[in-house]
């Protein structure tokens, strides 16, 4: 892995930005890589379309924007419609099968997973949806080690909620591990 460009998209409140920060922080703090995380946002937060750009690289990162991502995650239909076309040819598109109906073919490996339904069925708390998504992405790509993410979760999350987050991460890892995408 020299340089991976990712876009996480969904709607405000789903935690896609938090997931992006945790991933990038794990890459920088635990794995010694470089990473940038940025987001554009308007005046309204909750419910609006959210997008965050992440670059993870062994080299220095200058321009922090992502124009065509290697990895695109879409958690809502709106996000999918808006961003499906920007994915880099040969890239990875990860969507939630519950909320995204894919319309046209993109030149990418497309993986649909029942992320939300699995979280609700197994844990029952939508708050960890983003962590399951992150787990699935790591299960598929091995972009960072799961232990690296766990280390960041331990720092950021109050002890009472850690077990639930760890379960959510494991849930995602198992879902993702059925597939393989080499970065």
């Amino acid at each position: 892995m020299k340089r991976v460009r990712l876009v996480f998209s969904g709607s405000g409140g789903q935690g896609v930005i938090t997931a992006a920060i945790i991933l990038a922080e794990a890459a920088v703090i635990v794995e010694g890589l470089n990473a940038t995380q940025s987001q554009s946002y308007g005046a309204a937060a909750r419910g609006g379309a959210t997008r965050t750009d992440i670059i993870i690289s062994e080299e220095e990162i200058n321009f922090p924007g992502v124009t065509s991502p290697n990895i695109l995650v879409c958690l809502t239909q709106e996000a999918y419609s808006q961003y499906a076309s920007i994915i880099r040819p040969g890239g990875l598109l990860l969507t939630d099968s519950r909320s995204v109906k894919t319309a046209k073919k993109t030149d990418a490996k497309h993986i649909e997973l029942p992320l939300y339904d699995t979280v609700m069925e197994r844990i029952g708390k939508p708050i960890v949806y983003n962590i399951t998504m992150l787990g699935a992405l790591i299960g598929i790509t091995s972009i960072v080690r799961p232990e690296s993410v766990l280390e960041i979760l331990k720092e950021r999350i109050p002890p009472d909620f850690l077990a639930m987050n760890q379960r959510a991460l494991d849930l995602g890892l198992v879902l993702g591990a059925q597939y393989r995408y080499t970065i």
């Binding site: 990038a24 470089n34 940038t36 995380q37 940025s38 554009s40």
Partner: protein, 382 residues
């Protein structure tokens, strides 16, 4: 505290720099995209015995830091364009009364309330001439978090050295983006502390009587010495004066103390600049796009380089002239209508070879935006 690796927003890098430099008083009024600076200092300052005050507005915040600085504190406020406009009158007071302070402006789109959540670099000239009357001012900027940290420390040092307000001109992209920051061990980056008077208690202290080296030692206001502070032209006791020679000498001093030290204050970085035929002059977040492009084009054998400005005011005209002397063309990359462009044109020998690559729609200028213009200048078409 020992060397610490962090993954943070630029606004937090600024806070870390301020804490490293010894900030112990912050007054502010929250405004996007600078709010995290106030938020973090509200948590951190009380822990270390400092003071954080959220004032009723930006004017009061500026006045509060001026007062606190006079009593001996290292002070800072943070805002964005609309708040920076409100602070201008008091910034002039700090210039006139020679009170060290640091003002952070995380730039967003203007004029007026403008484009609150999007990037701009439109306050370059406001930092220079936002307050009325001739005066010197220092403004620094940075394109990455390590440099945000360093420029923040430098801002405090320069404020103390020259007894002046120093403006930190960051922008929304730098403020909100997250990346790596290594906070060095204490002592690694030098810190300039307040130069205090050696005049003992009960002996007359002249607040505006320079030492032989021209510096003005301060006495913590409310401490051992009684003295006057005013925004009016003043004599060595700090009392108002309209004596023509007092007025002329003070105004000349306020301008010269900054302008004659431009070489000491100047901060810049070179990227691929040796033998560059085409030079991109940039600063802040737009410099990241310029550097990205230059590194890419170098791999293809193109002689493209970047001169990254880290001090904007006083403008390092002589340095820019020298660095650009052999360039076929100079392209100023910024997110405004050409505010640094004007300075670069005035600095170089051949202003007709200076061009502007800008973006003013609230989006970060991209490497391909710059490349498009570069190709046109090179006669290659789009």
């Amino acid at each position: 505290m020992s060397e610490k690796l962090m993954f943070v927003q630029g606004n937090e890098a600024c806070v870390q720099g301020a804490l490293y430099a010894g900030v112990d008083f912050f007054a502010g009024y929250p405004i996007t995209p600078s709010t995290e600076i106030a938020e973090l200092l509200a948590a951190r300052l009380p822990e270390k015995g400092g003071k954080f005050i959220q004032m009723e507005d930006e004017i009061a915040s500026m006045c509060a830091i001026i007062g606190a600085s006079l009593t001996g504190h290292k002070v800072m406020t943070a805002t964005s364009g609309p708040g920076f406009s409100l602070k201008q009158e008091a910034i002039g007071y700090a210039c006139m009364a020679e009170i060290p302070c640091v003002i952070v402006n995380v730039q967003r789109g203007g004029p007026s309330t403008g484009n609150p959540t999007h990037v701009s670099q439109g306050d370059i000239n406001q930092a220079r001439w936002g307050t009325h009357g001739d005066h010197g001012i220092i403004a620094l900027t940075a394109s990455n978090h390590q440099d945000v940290f360093r420029m923040t420390v430098d801002a405090f040092n320069l404020a103390e050295t020259y007894r002046t307000p120093v403006v930190l001109l960051f922008d929304e992209v730098i403020g909100h983006m997250r990346e790596r920051l290594v906070v060095p061990d204490p002592g690694v980056v030098p810190i300039v502390d307040r130069l205090r008077t050696s005049v003992p208690k009960d002996v007359d202290y002249h607040p505006y009587l320079p030492r032989e080296d021209g510096r003005l030692p301060m006495s913590d206001f409310g401490g051992h010495h009684r003295y006057n502070v005013t925004g009016l032209f003043h004599d060595m006791w700090g009392f108002p004066s309209n004596n023509p020679s007092v007025v002329q000498d003070l105004l000349r001093h306020l301008v010269d103390k900054i302008d004659t030290n431009v070489d000491v204050i100047t901060r810049y970085k070179e990227h691929c600049l040796d033998d560059a035929e085409y030079i991109l002059v940039s600063y802040g977040s737009s410099a990241r796009s310029a550097i990205h492009l230059a590194k890419n084009r170098r791999q293809k054998g193109e002689r493209l380089g970047v001169l990254e400005l880290q001090s904007i005011w006083p403008f390092p005209a002589e340095m820019v002239r020298a660095k650009c002397a052999n360039a076929k063309a100079v392209i100023v990359v910024e997110m405004n209508m050409g505010q640094v462009l004007t300075q670069v044109k005035a600095a170089v020998d051949q202003p007709n070879r200076v061009f502007l690559a800008n973006r003013i729609d609230g989006k970060l200028i991209t490497p391909s935006d710059i490349k498009g213009l570069l190709r046109v200048i090179q006669g290659k078409g789009v």
